[in-house]
Amino acid sequence: MTKTCLTFRDLTLGYNSHPAIHHLDGTIRRGSLTAVVGANGSGKSTLMKGIVGVLKPMAGTVVREPGVRAAYLPQQSELDRSFPARVVDLVSLGLWPRRGLLGRHTKEDHDSVSQALMAVGLGGFEKRPIDTLSGGQLQRTLFARVLLQDADLILLDEPFNAVDTKTVGDLIAMIKRWHGEERTIMVVVHDLDLVRQNFPETLLLARQPIAWGETKETLRPENLLRARRFHEAWEENAPWCEPDNHEHGDHAHDPGHDHQHDHNHGSGPRAA
């Protein structure tokens, strides 16, 4: 059994030929819990979209290990809140990986929907129309759906937005439980204290990976400073990124490569 869950090979993702993620190399270990941090526009959400497959790479690849099922909680949901659905209908969408288009929803499925709602503190909300939920309640409903998806790879894009402190605590507890269940989790977070306290590993992005590895190392002041200096705007006249150019810009990738070594070390004992 491989220990890798995701492999990025020279991955470039972006919009209108401008990269938002530029030449990302590296791997995500199975069972790891990684925080993805960086300034606005540093490519965090783009990376999530690339992993889940709703955005096709401009170059390079994301390789998901065979059989790894992903659950994705986007930052900007395309959820139509005016759609006449109840909480239970929305959460039941999470049964899709299990039941697909035509499979019957069994009694156990309905029970697991109720349990998922219970787990996010929304027990008894089954029949509530979704347009009557508060922002935080909706976010927890979506968490319940992720829970129900029972995925091996869980991608959460800024899940703590508009959520009160107590609920953040609940959601963190749930993420930690998933972590304990050997699921691979990547979470886009802004609150660095939250990251330091709860996430063993961190990927610091500024279009390119600035640092990647153990949270304490990654979030060192000099790294954060470098991440801050990153230039957010696209330059219309930026030169095309040629293979040479890429080599040239390679210094910026150094931390990423270090990280690669780290991981090799990490997997050493297992290989032996």
Binding site: S77, L79, D80, F83, L90, L93, P129
Partner: protein, 292 residues
């Protein structure tokens, strides 16, 4: 008394074969078109239905020009034109930055212009009225078979793709993250819209067929918070409108298509006022509230 009621409500259908066929045809049409209308409305594509109805015109007109007022050529022509416009507009909105409302408007306007051009090249305005306003009282067996087929296809497709359709409406990004059905289901749905509009134009005409699709759906929205009952209710409202419209058209000698649509319109206004989520109810409830 009973005799009067019988004379008013039953006799027209019992005594005249053309009324029976009109009833069967329009009821079948409601069965397929009303649930499709519910999804059109929920996807905020209510006006796209209208646009699609216009888009069908050149195809129907081409069939009409070459073969006269024959159902099969006009239907096939309408189907082809409708599918070209639906696929074209759908593809532009799916694969470019343009939204569906704009691409649909562009495609249907072009299509409509071609249609009007074709009708004006040959044929009088009476012919145009036939194409635009339909002939529900002259449905032949061929047309009934066609409508029946369309209803079966519609209901079977809806049953198969129900879950995907709901997911695509409710949370399209989620559907994309767990399945590749998003785009196919959207196009299948547009296909059903075209199919039902084409089925409707024999009975109600291209301009009014969308009315039987949208008005019952819009009315049903005021009564329930869930999709399944909404579809069922829309079908019932469609049935009632057909019966009422046909009777009205029989007794008062009104054109049947507009009579059916106006009946649905009456239900719509009644629903706005008296629906459980309508105006009056909302006012009354606002005076009282619970403690939690």
């Amino acid at each position: 008394m009973m005799d009067t009621l019988y004379g008013l409500l039953i006799a027209p259908f019992a005594d005249f074969a053309f009324m029976q066929r009109a009833l069967v045809g329009s009821l079948m049409l409601s069965l397929g078109a009303c649930p499709v209308g519910v999804f059109l409305m929920l996807r905020r594509m209510s006006l796209s239905g209208d646009a699609m109805a216009h888009a069908i015109l050149p195809g129907a007109a081409a069939g009409f020009l070459f073969y006269g007022l024959e159902i099969l050529p006009m239907t096939i022509g309408g189907l082809i034109a409708g599918i070209i416009v639906a696929l074209g507009a759908g593809a532009v909105s799916r694969f470019t930055i343009q939204r569906e409302d704009a691409s649909m408007a562009a495609f249907y306007l072009i299509s409509l212009a071609i249609g009007v051009l074709m009708v004006s090249i040959r044929g009088s305005s009476v012919d145009l009225m036939h194409v635009l306003f339909g002939t529900v009282l002259a449905l032949n067996n061929e047309a009934l078979t066609l409508i029946g087929g369309i209803v079966v296809v519609t209901l079977v497709s809806l049953a198969i793709f129900w879950r995907a359709l709901v997911a695509e409406c409710l949370d399209p990004l989620f559907l994309r993250s767990v399945s590749r059905l998003g785009s196919p289901v959207h196009f299948i749905f547009l296909g059903l819209v075209v199919l039902n509009l084409v089925g409707g134009f024999q009975a109600l005409g291209t301009l009014l067929s969308v009315g039987l699709m949208m008005l019952p759906a819009a009315a049903a929205r005021f009564w329930t918070m869930r999709v399944e009952p909404m579809c069922a209710l829309a079908v019932l409202i469609g049935f009632a409108s057909c019966v009422a419209g046909l009777l009205l058209s029989y007794h008062v000698s009104l054109p049947s298509g507009p009579a059916i649509i106006l009946s649905a319109g009456v239900v719509y206004f009644a629903s706005i006022l008296f629906g459980t989520r309508g105006i009056l109810r909302a006012r009354i409830i606002h005076h009282r509230h619970r403690t939690a």
